[in-house]
Symmetry: C2
């Protein structure tokens, strides 16, 4: 039946079935009902826990980076540290914990720079971006099983230039650097 | 067996099984072998086709935006136009096609602004960001089944401000605006 109203409708979720459960997300098939047409259709939705990525700056203006093998692209990447939120954990607590576990770095009070939706079309979770300044290596690393991480330090301005030049291609890392850019300009102007 | 070499290893893919096939991606379980430990483990990888997002600018400096219901976040979003690459289609051809099909807008020659990896940890594909200037509504829209799109125009500078303020949260849309920012500054300086 043709729908006389052309404006986008708010489809109504009717329940879901689980297509797959993995260590990092569940894959659901969600049945949605179109409110005007009355038709129903299944759409696939990835449901991961919340993600947190960390802009960690050392006292000498370097960014803490992690190099690791990534199974999705079957290659090495250089990224900022990050990880999955534990149940009931806040984004700021995740940031402090993941930075310490992945890199051994500890810094000052974490500050939320922003929150993004990794992929609203097919994915339900959000990714928080947290700034930690005064980061210094003061702890032992505690990697998860299968994690092998090389910690690198690189001047913040060099990393920003790599984001602008297309050298950094990780979508969520680019989001973090983009949101940090004006904060970093202000930090430099204030001589921090 | 402890691995004496602490540097990240390049795991070797050994083959995969298919966990799920959906309209927008396949979900694989890929067996990888650690070259030094000799151990094997399965990792989940999403394999979608290539994605293309389009920065479409009208002659009066407005950006072409699309408002639609998104099943992943179960809510409406305002995004830039975009879509999936057909097999053997180039990113530039996808951009011209998707802009016309989704919005009815046609512009000048498409130009690649950059390419990002949506999620190297769990996802194999890339997302291309393409600029089309001189965009004007000159065709009928041709939506895919279940697409309902409201086309909006908004001044480019307003959209850039919304990206900076946190109002726009879509990771890949933010990537596109971030990569377009210096190009837009140059276009304005040249009075285009």
């Amino acid at each position: 039946m043709p729908d006389p109203d052309p404006s986008p409708a708010r489809w109504e979720p009717q329940g879901h079935t689980i297509l797959a459960r993995t260590r990092v997300f569940d894959l659901h098939s969600v049945r949605f009902r179109h409110p005007r047409r009355g038709t129903e259709k299944d759409f696939v939705v990835m449901r991961p826990p919340g993600w947190v990525n960390i802009i960690a700056v050392t006292p000498d203006h370097q960014l803490v980076l992690v190099r690791q093998f990534r199974f999705g692209v079957d290659d090495f990447t250089v990224e900022i540290p990050g990880g999955l939120m534990d149940p009931a954990e806040s984004p700021l607590a995740t940031a402090t914990r993941e930075l310490r576990e992945e890199t051994g770095f500890i810094g000052g009070a974490p500050r939320l720079l922003g929150t993004v939706d990794p992929n609203p079309a097919i994915q339900s979770n959000t990714c928080h971006i947290v700034l930690i300044t005064g980061a210094q290596r003061r702890a032992e690393m505690e990697w998860d099983a299968d994690e092998e991480i090389e910690v690198r330090l690189q001047p913040v301005d060099e990393v920003m230039a790599a984001a602008r030049s297309g050298e950094i291609r990780h979508s969520l890392v680019l989001n973090a650097l983009f949101l940090f850019e004006p904060v970093w300009a202000e930090m430099k102007a204030r001589g921090i």
